[in-house]
Subunit: 214 residues, 2 copies
DNA sequence: GCAAAAACAATCATGATTGTCTTTAATATT
DNA sequence: AATATTAAAGACAATCATGATTGTTTTTGC
């Protein structure tokens, strides 16, 4: 699957109220979830079409009936992963509590989950896989833009000092994602998680301009 | 190559002063370097034996003469990568200047290089490849232990407050490696590198106990 | 020089993955 | 009820990576 050229999106079968044929959608979902599971279990490179079909509990023939090739399935899985990320993100940021502490913990929870694992598998694979990068990078960019915009909304009074605001965001992103990735690769001392999170929060608070400090 | 079980080390041909047969060592080196190049160029999963042989400019048969199988070659490549890292590390830490600024920049330089890229490829692959993890994790651990020990040597007067010392180290590791990895995966805004590095330095200085502050 | 050993090259058989094609079962339409 | 459509399964040929085997050329030791 890894090396498969990835084509454009499949023409959605028009949202007529197809009755039983809508269970085809269930099968597609099953396949997409199986693909994500395989990425998490075996890594991107070993997420092969036989493995995915096996994980989904169906034949490879059935699978290729719903997705014309492995690349199309992978593309759909990436779209779903992206949606998952955005959903989790909206849920976190949409909370009524906008304290730094809450937000840091929420994002940490988010990237501690397996969705982030899958995403990083894809992200690193895309380093050396151009066709994969072509569909993944836009998703990454969109996520980052939304992250940034959301942060602006959450801290409007911080916008006078853009430099420090940007620093707080970049710091958060790199510290948290750095920890998450190091955890994936036997590189994180779990005992240091709490101290680092606390320090990050302290640091963000310190970067807030006086007008924004509660 | 990815899925190959990795055996124990090859019996070194005894350090007698073999004359021309020592050019065998050159070929082995060539193969090991080719393997590392392939990991960087194509990623771990696509570092196959034909590609490596091609990169080294020799036949696959010749390659398998020097390394009994793909796994043995990969193991040797990992050992070499580990050595490279340790060498670069010693060079950085062995400098006479022990300022925080210098050390942060030195480690940043180090993980900005391709050796770190290769290492992260392996590290992530080892998440789902047990036999790879078996040879990579010890190297990772050794590197971390040396890192820690070196830091203790560089900042002896900091040892009274171990909690803050450990925090400074963990923070440095996660921020710097986080940035390096995000850079690999289209996730780093290069404009933020300098501000983050400066902030990290400031932060480390702030964590130093009064007795250690110059 | 000559024989043994090592370096190197080429080929083979095997297993895995991929996409296509064919066949059967289920479901929907008229 | 008959037929067309879709889901699902299986078989197929092509490609590729792997390790083993065999053959050829150098190099080394006697």
């Amino acid at each position: 699957m890894a090396r498969t050229a990835i084509k454009t999106a499949k023409p959605v079968p028009a949202p007529e109220l197809n009755l039983q044929a809508a269970k085809s959608a269930a099968t597609r979902t099953r396949l997409i979830e199986a693909t994500i599971s395989c990425i998490i279990k075996y890594g991107y490179a070993r997420t092969t079409t036989p493995r995915v079909a096996d994980e989904a509990g169906m034949s490879r023939g059935a699978m290729l009936h719903h997705f014309e090739n492995g690349g199309a399935l992978m593309q759909a899985a990436i779209a779903e992963l992206h949606e998952k990320r955005l959903r989790a993100f909206r849920q976190s940021a949409g909370s009524t509590i906008h304290e730094v502490h809450t937000l840091v913990r929420a994002y940490w929870q988010q990237i501690s989950g397996q969705t982030f694992t899958a995403f990083h598998e894809l992200a690193l694979a895309s380093r050396t896989d151009e066709s994969l990068a072509n569909i993944l990078v836009p998703a990454q960019n969109e996520f980052r833009v939304r992250w940034y915009r959301q942060a602006i909304e959450l801290f409007p009074e911080w916008q006078d000092d853009r430099a420090r605001f940007d620093l707080a965001l970049a710091l958060s992103q790199n510290v948290l994602e750095g920890m998450a990735i190091n955890r994936l690769t036997h590189g994180l001392d779990e005992r240091m998680v709490e101290p680092i999170l606390n320090d990050l929060e302290r640091q963000i608070e310190a970067l807030k301009p006086p007008s924004a400090k509660a």
